[in-house]
Symmetry: C2
Subunit: 202 residues, 2 copies
């Protein structure tokens, strides 16, 4: 019998970057950004701890790459939300979708807006995804504003709406509301209640 000559994994992984990001996201969902350790990710993917540095500048580089993916998904979730209803009601649905995104992916949500991804705010890949998400928000704001041509008014409404849902999502995730009988699991009902002030954002 010939000895096992074929190594289980070839020296070159082939799609290590992808594999690292996927493993990272698994850990992110379970233990949050602070639980993300480059060495552990490499270990679990079955590669040396130094290998990751051929695909990311450093730990923050990987965090930024994750953030880029997050904003991509957020944009698509927001667009899907807007499609659930016509006109102004579609804007409410976007808000509900925003909070739902945070509730479904708390680790990712915190990572996207956290200080470790701050370096990536300038990165063109991330910027493009962030801008895409923001454009969807602007379009939504345009549908509820009295003068859709007034860009300043549209941006003001968008800022209020973003602040409102971002704050609600953050407070829910950070467990600040459960002592007032508002549980994370009821995020959809709570979001609708908070957004009932919609025409009041104007």
């Amino acid at each position: 019998m010939a000895k096992a000559r074929v190594p289980k994994r070839p020296y070159h992984h082939g799609k290590l970057r992808e594999a690292l990001l996927e493993e990272a996201e698994r850990i992110l969902n379970k233990r949050g950004v602070d639980g993300l350790a480059l060495r552990e990710i490499a270990r679990r993917v079955g590669v040396s701890h130094a290998a990751a540095y051929h695909h990311f500048e450093d730990r923050d580089g990987l965090v930024c790459a994750l953030a880029a993916r997050g904003f991509e998904r957020l944009a698509s979730d927001l667009a899907a939300g807007a499609r659930r209803a016509d006109g102004p009601a579609g804007f409410d649905e976007m808000g509900v979708a925003y909070v739902a995104f945070a509730a479904r992916r708390p680790g990712m949500f915190r990572l996207m807006f956290g200080p470790e991804a701050a370096a990536g705010r300038a990165d063109p890949e991330i910027r493009a995804n962030v801008d895409a998400a923001f454009s969807i928000l602007l379009e939504g704001a345009r549908t509820i504003v009295a003068t859709p041509g007034d860009d300043r008014a549209v941006r003001c409404v968008a800022l209020r709406a973003w602040s409102l849902v971002h704050g609600l999502a953050s407070l829910l995730l950070d467990d600040q509301l459960s002592h007032h009988g508002l549980a994370l699991r009821d995020h959809e009902r709570i979001a609708r209640e908070v957004l009932a002030a919609r025409r009041l954002l104007l």
Copy 2:
């Protein structure tokens, strides 16, 4: 000449807990929660790296103690804000004060609501301070609601207002708005603009 017999610092520090917290806050303001290292804090206070464990259960314990101080200051800032104007306008001032607190102490603000202080949400010392801050918010909400006796309505307004200012503060700190011409340094003007929808929170 007698040799220096009096040690610079006695074996027992006396108020080590205080000293550690103060040094921690200095670092917190400069480098954020992630920059907080128990060993470095001890080193700078001039004490062994294990000494801190006689005053805090672990690193999260120190973070929670910092959070308790933070909520105390937030409550006093909010109260001071409310005193700046009578009636409903006082509620706006509270919102401005909330955002100003975040802008002045970004590291502290993030720590207070971040995942590392999550363990402390149950701690009675922190709870008392959080509840004190929340009570001030509720009182403010009561002044702008049409039916101050309707507790449900008051809490709903409070939640909207809190979400709005918390979201705005977070987005400003996390540098999500600077690309839209909204700089952290203009936090007061921006907060007033966003809060101009006050009577619309109802």
